[in-house]
């Protein structure tokens, strides 16, 4: 791997793909750049508009249902854009285009991995989630299971995923602000925490959704413009673009084929599983299915989301190659000391931002920087909202108060939790400033596919599944995925600084083992469970099946 430090420096914190690379990558601390006023003003405009929307949304957010799911009044198309917004993080945009810039073809392998989970959600989960759930994915598993244990487990699964994802985003925000705006780390972390809390506290899901939609549109527009500008330079001939790239890139023809990213098949399949099934266990994504009024709209949502995300990944591939052909021939403008071998100013993840300047001047670069930062803000808001709903709806209202709680109290608890999570996120962002957090998004995916996904899948589709089985299997998945990740080279050697080769778990992702273990334990424990409670749960399956398949009796999500 060439100079992994340059290719993956700076905001690698965000780059989940980096977790796989992290085996050899040293996460450089981003160098603070000159203050970029254009970007700051553009970002200010974005914040202004979104706060105005939050004010409008606040007037509509009165009940817990409004807060969690925007009253179920989002259309499939809007929700599709919002899901795409949740998913097209700064990591995808800067990270994948940076990876393509550094290694060419390898970037494509990662973008494919990030997309393939969506069909699985569409075919197996979206509609059933919508029909069975109300506010959180625990509602789905909680339909026929014992509320106490299953919701406690689901809330833990959600919070663990949210916490890892939040840390990665906050540290990423801090590193990015140094690069994009030329401001201090701490300013970024506090700003993201504060603005995000305003969105969520006052505007709930309505504001969070619209922030995502606006951001998704800005990101898609900006990326489309850049990709078209690049293709235009080469008369819309990919072949011409690639031959120029091969001519100027230091790896020459190496950028046209797979590099050293994936060598051992076990890691390859394991990472693939984490990405494919992890997407179906991310609480902030799952919760978006409750914001639409029907199963039909839920399907449309994923249809649109998949389209936008896939289109976006094709754009990032072109942008990465555009960065090769536009930046490398002009080292004086874009590289450290004008020397290509020293890497891009601000690190490899800045490829897209520099390309924006090359094709659209300072004003466009300001726009792209503002979009990249707005992206983090929006993702953090979505994460916080899903964390808050896990605490207030699952732990407080359902487990602790056994459902005997009015909407106003539940809403108050969600808001208090939002503030706590906001402060927690800021503190974690500060604590982890100097840490290598590249593995955290990958860890979130590992937990999502090993704990949340198997429980959801089995509770909805397997009639013999019981509470004991689901909780036991999910817990095994949760603990094993976290433990194996810590013992893997990316964390044990790179982050914790143990000697090279000392990692006890040799693969890049635990999914192939931890997810299998979760399913096996759910199966075995459920089969052995002969309690009266288990019999009751099995007897409820036919009714659950009718509801999950037809939507009869499902929550309209328009209130209690």
């Amino acid at each position: 791997m060439i100079k992994a430090k340059h290719i993956l420096g700076g905001a690698t914190a965000l780059l989940a793909a980096g977790a796989v690379l992290a085996a050899g990558a040293d996460l450089g601390q981003a160098q603070k750049q000159a203050t970029n006023w254009t970007a700051i003003v553009m970002f200010g405009i974005f914040v202004g508009i979104t706060l105005w929307i939050t004010k409008w949304a606040a007037a509509k957010t009165k009940t817990a249902a409004d807060f969690y799911t925007a009253g179920g009044g989002i259309t499939g198309f809007q929700n599709g854009l919002a899901i795409a917004g949740d998913y097209m993080s700064a990591a995808s945009f800067l990270g994948i285009s940076g990876l393509v810039f550094g290694s060419g073809f390898d970037g494509l392998i990662f973008s494919i991995g990030w997309l393939v989970g969506w069909p699985v959600i569409t075919f197996l989960m979206a509609e059933r989630l919508r029909n069975l759930g109300k506010f959180t994915f625990a509602d789905v598993a909680g339909y026929r299971f014992d509320a106490g244990p299953i919701r406690t487990f689901a809330a833990c699964g959600s919070l663990v995923v949210v916490a890892f994802y939040l840390i990665a985003q906050m540290v990423g925000a801090g590193q990015l602000i140094k690069l994009l705006f030329g401001l201090d780390y701490i300013v970024a972390v506090c700003m993201v925490g504060a603005i995000m809390m305003i969105y969520v506290l006052f505007g709930g899901m309505t504001a969070t959704t619209w922030v995502q939609i606006i951001k998704a549109c800005m990101l898609l527009t900006g990326a489309t413009f850049m990709a078209l500008a690049v293709l235009f330079q080469f008369g819309f001939s990919p072949e011409a673009l690639f031959s120029k790239a091969v001519e100027v890139h230091s790896k020459k023809d190496g950028i046209m084929g797979p590099g050293g990213l994936i060598n051992d098949p076990v890691s390859a399949i394991s990472v693939g599983m984490a990405l494919m099934f992890g997407t179906a266990g991310l609480p902030h994504i799952l919760m978006r299915f409750f914001t639409v009024p029907s199963a039909k709209e839920a399907r449309k949502s994923v249809g649109w989301a998949t389209t936008w995300i896939g289109y976006f990944y094709i754009l990032t591939f072109i942008i990465g190659f555009g960065a090769i052909t536009n930046l490398i021939p002009n080292p004086a403008d874009y590289f450290v000391n004008g020397d290509v071998t020293k890497g891009l100013n601000g690190g490899g993840n800045m490829a897209a931002v520099h390309l924006a300047k090359a094709v659209g001047g300072d004003l466009f670069m300001g726009f792209i920087s503002a979009v990249a930062f707005a992206t983090i803000l929006a993702v953090v808001a979505g994460l916080t909202l899903s964390g808050a709903s896990a605490v207030s709806h699952d732990l407080y209202a359902s487990v602790w108060r056994h459902g005997n709680v009015d909407s106003a109290t539940e809403l108050r608890v969600s808001k208090i939790t939002t503030v706590c999570l906001g402060i927690f996120a800021v503190l974690l962002g500060i604590v982890f400033e100097k840490e290598n957090v590249a593995f955290m998004v990958m860890l979130a995916f590992a937990v999502a596919c090993s704990a949340n996904f198997p429980v959801l899948f089995m509770s909805v589709l397997w009639k013999d599944c019981t509470t004991k089985g689901a909780v036991a299997g999910g817990t095994v998945g949760l603990i094993s995925s976290v433990a194996l990740t810590i013992m893997s080279p990316a964390v044990w050697e790179v982050s914790l600084g143990h000697a090279k080769g000392s990692a006890m778990f040799p693969y890049a992702s635990p999914a192939i083992f931890s997810m299998t273990a979760a399913f096996a334990v759910i199966y075995l424990v459920s089969k052995m469970d002969s309690s009266a409670q288990a019999a009751k749960e099995r007897a409820l399956f036919p009714a659950q099946l009718v509801r999950s398949e037809t939507g009869v009796g499902s929550s309209s999500a328009s209130g209690h």
């Binding site: 973008s111 393939v116 075919f123 390859a268």
Partner: protein
């Protein structure tokens, strides 16, 4: 009519189980297809890098891996669209029919 009664009548309707089996089979076939395409590509990356780096034609720079990779992205979008389209028209119509029958 109460939801519970409708649910019970749907359960007893043999058409309902037929519908569920048919749709589940369709979902599973598409899921397996998606996994074959994706894991096939990943295994190609792991085992046969040479093949992916082969040029698409003599004298060209573009390698086979690039159209194949973009092909996987496009396949993912298309297979999702196919499912959504069929589910939102044909499957929903069949489902509505069953629910209507039970609600009479």
């Amino acid at each position: 009519m109460k939801d519970e009664d409708i649910v019970e009548r749907i359960q007893k309707n043999p058409k309902f189980m037929q519908f569920v089996t048919m749709r589940n089979n369709y979902s599973i076939v598409l899921s397996i297809l998606m996994m074959i395409v994706y894991f096939g590509y990943i295994l190609l990356v792991a085992f046969n890098k040479q093949f992916l780096a082969t040029k698409i034609s003599a004298g060209a720079v573009t390698s086979i891996g690039i159209p194949l990779g973009v092909g996987v992205l496009v396949f993912t979008i298309v297979i999702t669209a196919i499912y959504v389209r069929r589910a939102n028209s044909e499957f929903d119509a069949a489902k509505d029919e069953i629910v209507k029958e039970a609600s009479k």
